[in-house]
């Protein structure tokens, strides 16, 4: 049996199903992300696990113990909130020590554990500051330290990075992953940011309208999205019509009944007249390490990403040929859930 098990977990608010019969198994030490657009039920799922939201149906089992209706205080889980939810009237040290004080940990051991966890999140210099004297990233670390110090069986992260600016967010992503690895703690993170989910999770759970639509490792999820929605939500995707040829190989065909997904970076640009499809560059965006081209073709406008290798980029209006490896085409199923 898995360490954390959601069995047919559901939540109804009046007439509205926020989460529908969700099944999920998380192994010990695993980092799992719940990814989805806002309102997909990912936060509700997390809050049910934390015990802040009453469960309507199904069970939550933690390490063999049914905690479906246990009080939040008795679950002993570490929770990091989107707003950090630090206690503004307490110093960093007191914030972190709060959970230990609730557990009546003796003073000597308490000091030791607080020091250790503050060192882990690299905040030992700021132990006597108040939250308002810290930067966003530092507050984030305090929240993380406060959740970790009680040595919870599971760490729950609710959009932990959404209040940080882009640079800091990336830094904190790696920081969270480093800490998670170091402590070896089972972690569930809710996020709407696909790059965040892809970069730090062992597995990503895609949720949509209260249901799980795909569970896979980040690479598999990116390379083999199951549905049209997922292919567009996780990374960028060109959607092309297609069909199977006589040999059963999927090919792009105008008017074909299959929906195919082709990632922008999988398309090669050739000279006009070469390749599988002809088109004209209609737009060009510089992304630093890459160029993003919009190419208008008979199958619609396609996005193409090329590495910025230092050579002069193509200008708008240039006629180009597009080519790709047919094995990189993915057949998508039509969304079973209305987005």
């Amino acid at each position: 049996m898995a360490f954390v098990q959601l069995e047919g977990l559901g939540k109804r608010y009046g007439e509205i199903d926020a989460v529908v019969a969700t099944n999920l198994s998380v192994e010990k030490g695993e980092f799992v992300s719940l990814l989805g657009p806002s309102g997909c039920g990912k936060t509700t799922t997390l809050q049910m696990i934390a015990g802040f939201v009453e469960v309507s149906s199904g069970r939550i089992v933690l390490d063999g113990r049914d905690i479906t209706h246990a009080k939040p205080a008795s679950r002993g889980l570490g929770v990091v909130f989107q707003s950090y939810a630090l206690f503004p009237h307490m110093t960093v040290k007191d914030n972190v020590a709060f959970g230990l004080r609730m557990r009546k940990v003796a003073n000597g051991e308490l000091q030791q554990r607080v020091d250790r966890v503050l060192k882990l999140v690299r905040l030992n210099q700021h132990a006597d500051r108040y939250p308002r004297e810290l930067s966003g990233g530092q507050r984030q670390r305090v929240a993380l330290a406060r959740a970790l110090v009680i040595e919870p069986p599971v760490l729950l992260l609710d959009e932990p990075l959404s209040n940080l600016d882009a640079n800091l967010r990336e830094e904190m992503q790696f920081e969270i992953r480093r800490i998670q690895r170091e402590v070896g703690i089972t972690t569930l993170m809710v996020t709407h940011d696909q790059s965040e989910a892809l970069s730090i999770s062992d597995r990503v759970v895609v949720m949509q309208a209260g249901r799980i639509t795909q569970i896979d490792a980040p690479y598999t999820l990116y390379e083999h999205p199951r549905t049209e929605f997922i292919s567009g939500f996780v990374g960028k995707a060109n959607l092309l019509p297609g069909e199977r040829d006589d040999a059963g190989v999927v090919q792009v065909r105008s008017g074909g009944e299959l929906i195919l997904s082709l990632r922008p970076e999988k398309i090669d640009l050739r000279d006009a007249g070469h390749g599988r499809l002809q088109g004209n560059i209609v737009s060009r965006f510089f992304l630093g390490s890459q160029w993003l081209y919009g190419v208008s073709t008979t199958l619609g406008e396609l996005s193409v990403v090329r590495r910025n290798d230092g050579s002069a980029p193509l200008t708008e209006g240039t006629a180009v040929g597009l080519d790709w490896d047919a094995t990189l085409l993915r057949v998508l199923s039509v969304d079973e859930v209305p987005a």
């Binding site: 934390a50 205080a73 929770v79 939810a85 009237h89 959970g99 929240a143 406060r146 959740a147 009680i150």
Partner: protein, 289 residues
């Protein structure tokens, strides 16, 4: 920004705030100064106020007469008790209010504020109807076979009516500081193993202390200088300082004595409120900024 700086450094600022300053000066500072001067004037029952002669007699009789001590002491304990009851009732009320759903919250907030629209005098009369010798409360007591109680013209009547009148002044500042609270902080505390009681005591209460402090200052200040309620519900026997001043001015016609009592009340009020403010604010200023 530059306009603001210019206003701050130039003389323009004084002109812009002149209307407010004139109002403040004309309606507060000058009357207070006149009262202060008046409190030193000589008074004689046969010849009235002598505004050319000055004396410290009023203050010395104020300090020497146990009759005044009793009234000042009563005013202070009634105000303190009123403040305490307002905290005990108002803080939980504000908390419950802030946790209510959308339609109910506004409805109950308005309900709490509506009494402010009714004159204090009318509300005091309402209480005297309820608490009177054959008021509703005593009628009910008698209907159950109990003997009637003396409720009106007791400190009890004054305190209960004061709490009723002052409660909104406690709820509003507490409610305001509750608005600034992050509800997730309570969830965080619970996830860390805190009981509801601990969450209230260690997480919520310390954060709303500034609101509780302003509430207590407003309530105490208003209660200590209240006139209509002790006048109507305390009767002739349960005098408070404001009713005493009224008597000195209008029954005794001893204006200088009334002025001296008024000055004394003002100083005592200031002393109590400032030290209270220092005591509480000092404890929370560092952490709450």
């Amino acid at each position: 920004m530059s306009t603001l700086v210019a206003i701050r450094h130039g003389r323009q600022g004084y002109w812009l705030s002149a209307p407010a300053l004139a109002l403040y000066l004309g309606l507060l500072v000058i009357p207070l100064l006149l009262t202060l001067v008046l409190s030193f004037n000589v008074f004689d029952y046969s010849s009235g106020i002598n505004s050319d002669a000055y004396t410290l007699d009023h203050y010395s009789s104020l300090l020497g007469d146990p009759y005044f001590y009793e009234i000042f002491l009563r005013t202070m304990w009634i105000s303190a008790l009123t403040t305490l009851l307002c905290v005990v009732i108002g803080v939980p009320e504000a908390y419950i209010l802030s946790r209510m759903g959308t339609p109910w919250r506004s409805i109950f907030l308005i309900l709490i504020l509506t009494p402010l629209l009714i004159s204090v005098v009318v509300r005091a009369f309402g209480w005297s109807l309820l608490l009177g010798a054959d008021g509703l409360v005593n009628q009910t007591l008698q209907a159950f076979g109990a003997s009637p109680m003396k409720l009106l013209y007791t400190p009890f009547a004054v305190v209960i009516a004061l709490v009723h009148v002052m409660l909104p002044f406690m709820i509003i500042p507490v409610w305001t500081s509750l608005q600034k609270l992050d509800p997730a902080a309570e969830q965080a505390a619970m996830s860390l193993g805190a009981s509801h009681f601990t969450v209230m005591r260690q997480v919520v209460l310390p954060q709303i202390m500034p609101g509780v402090l302003s509430g207590t200052l407003i309530v105490f200040g208003l209660a200590a200088s209240s006139f209509a309620i002790p006048g109507l519900l305390g009767g002739r026997r349960i005098k408070m300082v404001a009713t005493l001043i009224y008597d000195q001015y209008l029954s005794e016609l001893n204006w200088p004595m009334g002025a001296a009592i008024a000055v004394a009340l003002l100083l005592l009020n200031l002393l109590i409120m400032l030290s209270w403010n220092r005591m509480i604010e000092g404890r929370y200023k560092k952490s709450l900024g």
